[in-house]
């Protein structure tokens, strides 16, 4: 049984139809990578999976809940779906520890000391235990992104969404973040990753989808899609970036 089902997903901004007809199923523990040219709707697709964008048409079923149903408690569903942004979006007025414990304390009503010890475990996991009491402004980009991952994990999500998590990083920071993501994948996290890191997609991805013009043009195992692309547009895109 797939943990995410996307059926005939459509998304328009005003008159501009950004997602035209997206159909995809994501299995539990699968790592799905999403690639495609700028403006093809990758971020929009990802943001529809936790309804950060209002969905214009079709159905998105996450962990059994149809989130296009306006009666659903979307906050409940979002607790199960962690998201990591290109620009980190840490809360600058809170320490690293407070960033991570905010959700557990305010939403899950976990008491502070339990939330903090769990946060310290997560910080250890992303290699930033010593930064617990720093503010985001005092961290490098790579450190911020690892804190952002820890913050998302603190809610014990079933699914993690990543929107170009390494695109805003200096090259020497990229590896640290990718390592954390690889570790997550190994532990069996279901992940949807919009990325330009073809190395990561090849190594960690179970499946890659290539998006262009609001459609999924091609979807396949990474070695197939990169090694033997079927569509002209995929070939053209890959020849540009590889």
């Amino acid at each position: 049984m797939s943990i995410i089902q996307v059926k005939n997903l459509q998304k328009s901004f005003g008159h501009i139809e950004v997602l035209k007809d997206i159909n995809v199923e994501i299995q539990e523990k699968e790592v799905l990578c999403v690639i495609g040219p700028s403006g093809s709707g990758k971020s929009t697709f990802l943001r529809c999976l936790n309804r950060l964008e209002d969905i214009s048409g079709g159905h998105v079923i996450v962990n059994g809940h149809d989130i296009t149903d306006s009666k659903i408690n979307i906050n409940k569903v979002r607790q199960e779906v962690g998201m990591v942004f290109q620009q980190f979006n840490l809360f600058p007025h809170k320490t690293v520890l407070q960033n991570i414990t905010l959700g557990p304390i305010k939403i899950r009503s976990i008491d502070k000391s339990n939330a903090e010890s769990r946060a310290m475990e997560l910080l250890a996991k992303v290699g930033l235990k010593e930064k617990a009491h720093s503010y985001p402004g005092e961290l490098s980009g790579g450190q911020k992104q690892r804190v952002a991952i820890a913050r998302a994990l603190a809610m014990d999500p079933k699914i993690m969404l990543f929107d170009e998590p390494t695109s805003a990083l200096d090259p020497e920071m990229v590896g640290d973040v990718l390592d954390v993501m690889k570790q997550l994948a190994k532990e069996g996290m279901t992940m949807v990753v919009v990325t330009h890191e073809m190395g990561f997609a090849r190594e960690v991805g179970d499946r890659v989808i290539f998006m262009d013009g609001g459609y999924i043009v091609e979807e396949n195992k990474p070695e197939e899609l990169f090694g033997n692309p079927q569509h002209e547009r995929t070939k053209a895109f890959l020849s540009k970036i590889l």
Binding site: L52, L102, G103, I107, R151
Partner: protein, 214 residues
Amino acid sequence: METILAALPYLLEGLQVTIYIFLIAIILGFMIGMIMALLRLAPIKVLNWISRIFVDAIRGTPFLVQLFFIYFGLNSLPWISFDSTTAGIITVAINAGAYFSEIIRAGIQSIDKGQTEAARSIGLTSVQTMRFIILPQAFRRMLPTITNQSIISLKDTSLLSIIGIADLTQQGEIQASATFEAFKIWLTVGVIYFVIIYCLSLLANFLERRFELR
């Protein structure tokens, strides 16, 4: 010097009234501003309009006209009656509220959208997001403009002497005509206002440093 010393107790009595009115009005004004800002940003058209009309009406009319409307105008209605102090407090509060509303709205809108998205993606409700993520950051940014508006409102209270409130300005007038020493009395009144406003900005500086932007 003797003239000033003799007048000082009366002036300080007036100062008490000024501060009393200012404090109540600024707190009420802040609450009004907060409510109006949230109405303005709410995803419901009618609420947006209510807030806009309120803010535009206040910003588009002189303070004195607002004061006269509330004290003389509203008071002339058979089912309304309040004393001059109440009218004064209401006017200053409403006037400050309109300006605060714009300051707060701009402050909230100045916070990056990514903050809301990150908070909502964790599962916080929109109210929790406002309370724990947006407002704390927005207030730090707003502090200088809030101080500024508070100082303006404090100065506005001196106009309340016109409807007979015994504030610092009113006491100044009484003392000036009683002593025939207009120069000394008004100089003293000015110095007192200056000191109070100076203290206000010191307080604001302290708060700004306390909640330094990170």
